[in-house]
């Protein structure tokens, strides 16, 4: 990873590398400050702080695949760099937009699960916003399909609920 471009005078902790082990057994090297953004990794590192050599530590993350991790790590890294500078909120928002714009619906779900598990709340917020935005004008059927939800209403119950507020079902986007 080409992180050497950033100033070399910063604290040594950011230069140390930690190994994260994904659910599919792949090992990924990340800077320690990035790893500390992930709650399970932070807890693990604190528990094993007596070990002198950080390089030797391997943090298992059994709920996240290597594919998702390799998307998350650059995001968190850049986001950290951004928030370290006195930049405007607008810029961070633009960065978030850029990150989420091209995500497929499947990827969005996977990332939400990962962000939730890893406790990266700022990312989870952004992803929830994007999801809400993607489904807000859609039909009920589309939303069930989108999130893989089983309809547990009887047809009568559903019809009754719909009849209570027919206006809410008007002006819905094409699926």
């Amino acid at each position: 990873m080409a992180s050497s471009s950033s100033s070399s005078s910063c604290s040594s902790s950011s230069e140390k590398k930690i190994t994260l082990k994904s659910s599919d057994g792949e090992a990924l090297n990340v800077e320690k400050n990035v790893a500390l953004e992930f709650e399970p990794a932070k807890g693990f590192l604190e528990d094993n702080s007596e070990e002198a050599d950080d390089e030797a530590i391997v943090v298992p993350l059994p709920n996240v695949s290597a594919a998702v991790l390799s998307e998350l790590i650059p995001y968190v890294k850049q986001r950290l760099e951004l928030s370290a500078k006195p930049v405007q909120k607008k810029l961070i928002k633009a960065f978030d937009d850029q990150f989420t714009r091209h995500l497929s619906d499947d990827k969005l779900g996977e990332l939400m699960l990962a962000a939730n598990y890893l406790g990266v709340n700022y990312l989870l917020d952004v992803l929830c916003d994007v999801t809400a935005d993607r489904i807000k004008n859609k039909s009920v059927e589309y939303v069930r399909e989108f999130l893989g939800i089983q309809n547990d209403f009887t047809p009568e119950e559903e019809a009754e609920l719909r009849a209570q507020c027919p206006w809410a079902f008007e002006g819905v986007d094409q699926d």
Binding site: G109, L113, T131, K136, N137, V140, R144, F153, C165, A168
Partner: protein, 455 residues
């Protein structure tokens, strides 16, 4: 840590087997707290629609909705004023309890309208005879901007009406002023962009005169104009019709007028108001001594209305004994707070004092007890405040639907207006001085020439 992870994994597996989600769904299965997080970001209409997704969602949305209604109710600020130009701010904390703040200002400064994040203030200084000044306040960035002088003469006691509308997509805000003393041909409109750099000072843009499609008398009541889906509606009397009222729609973005909408009743047009309920235009009028009707507009081209709610004295729960007739007493609606379950209208009776929440579904009227005891007020104001519902010295000015409006804002606003006024006066003074000097010079030249001729 590992134990936690294992617990989450098994919990997830259990949950998905419980809800019998197939392999397809399992891939996208989201835990409850994430779904909750997403639902909380949806607009009201979508929430209502998604109640039919599944039982779990229905329950979560019902719960969120109750919280949302509470939050909306707590954004209300009620402002009273006294005969001595003192004002009382009440900020409701929820539908029953409330907090209150107070201010003492000799100047005439009133919050008139609120929309989205903006509040429109109208101010006048006792010494000034220049008419009222309008100032817009942005509650998010906490900045003011002064609007230029209104092209016609309005003082604090004039009969006029203001509308404030915000188009979030275009980031433009529009202020419309109606003179209500007579039948009018024109109203004036002012537009500004949220992103321009004129916050904190006066605005450069000027008012534009907008010609109305016909001569009309604009009606004033607690809620005589409302915007629904990008269209501003107001109640007007057209000159050609003796008793009836019409509703004039105007597209906010293009400023084009649409065809008049006939009101659903022509016989009794006093005490009528426009409301926005469930994204539709509603017309509220007095039908008889003991009934108010709320009509919903179904088709604006054919002026097709459906009678949606009847507010009747006999079925009202918690009716105060003083309210014995809808004709003798005025029942003023101010704003609507709605969730997907219950809708509440904030009303006052006879336009005076205590406000109530009226629940459209349960037909319950509940007084908002404004607890003055909890306030830490200076003695003089405490006395005023205690008397406020006896002496009738206070009367209701405005009910705003916005957070964080306190006396401090009024004080700072007064400072801002005074400053911009001073700047304007100074500019005016400079210009006048320059003119005077020029005239003096001319005079001197003329005098010199005259003297020379004499010699």
């Amino acid at each position: 840590m590992d134990e936690n992870v294992e617990a989450t994994v098994t919990e997830l597996a259990q949950r998905s087997s419980e809800t019998e989600i197939g392999k397809e769904g399992c891939r996208r299965y989201l835990p409850q707290d994430i779904v909750h997080n997403i639902l909380a970001r949806l607009p009201a209409k979508s929430m209502l629609r998604f109640k039919t997704v599944c039982k779990n969602w229905r329950d979560m949305i019902t719960e969120l909705d109750a919280i949302g209604v509470q939050q909306s109710m707590s954004k209300v600020t009620i402002i009273y004023r006294t005969n001595e130009s003192k004002s009382l701010f009440f900020k409701l904390k929820n539908k029953d309890r409330e907090n209150c703040c107070l201010s003492l200002e000799a100047d005439y400064i009133w919050a008139k309208k609120a929309c989205d994040k903006f509040v429109l203030f109208s101010c006048q200084f006792p010494a000034s005879c220049a008419g009222i000044q309008l100032v817009v306040y942005d509650t998010i960035t906490d900045r003011f901007r002064q609007l230029p002088k209104i092209p016609f003469y309005i003082v604090a006691t004039s009969f006029y009406d203001l509308s404030l509308v915000y188009d979030a997509s275009a980031k433009t805000c529009k202020v419309v002023v109606f003179n209500c003393t007579c039948y009018i041909e024109n109203c004036c409109i002012y537009t500004f962009n949220d992103n321009d750099d004129q916050w904190g000072s006066g605005s450069n843009e000027n008012w534009r005169i907008l010609k109305l499609p016909c001569l009309q008398g604009i009606m004033t009541s607690s809620n005589s104009s409302v915007d629904v889906n990008g269209v501003l509606y107001w109640i007007a009397r057209a000159n050609c019709i003796d008793h009836g009222a019409l509703i004039q729609p105007m597209d906010i973005a293009t400023e084009k007028f649409m065809r008049f909408i006939k009101v659903p009743c022509q016989s009794w047009i006093k005490n009528c108001n426009l409301l926005k309920i469930k994204e539709s235009l509603c017309f509220m009028n007095t039908a008889s001594t003991d009934e108010l009707h709320i009509w919903v507009l179904k088709n604006s081209v054919e002026s097709l209305w459906i009678l949606q709610h009847k507010i009747s004295l006999s079925s009202m729960i918690g009716r105060p004994t003083s309210l014995s007739s809808f004709i003798q007493h005025r029942f003023h609606p101010w704003l609507v707070v709605e969730g997907s379950g219950n809708s509440y209208i904030l009303v006052t009776i006879d336009g005076l004092l205590a406000p109530y929440w009226y629940n459209l579904e349960t037909k319950e009227l509940r007084q908002i007890a404004l607890d003055l005891g909890a306030l830490n007020l200076p003695e003089e104001l405490r006395r005023l405040a205690q008397d406020y519902n006896i002496s009738k010295g206070f009367y209701l000015r405005t009910i705003l639907f916005i957070d964080d409006l306190g006396p401090d804002i009024q004080r700072r606003l007064a400072g801002f207006v005074a400053k911009t006024q001073r700047q304007r006066d100074e500019e005016e003074g400079l210009r006048r001085n320059a003119l005077l000097r020029q005239r003096e010079d001319e005079e001197r030249v003329r005098r010199d020439a005259h003297l020379r001729r004499k010699q």
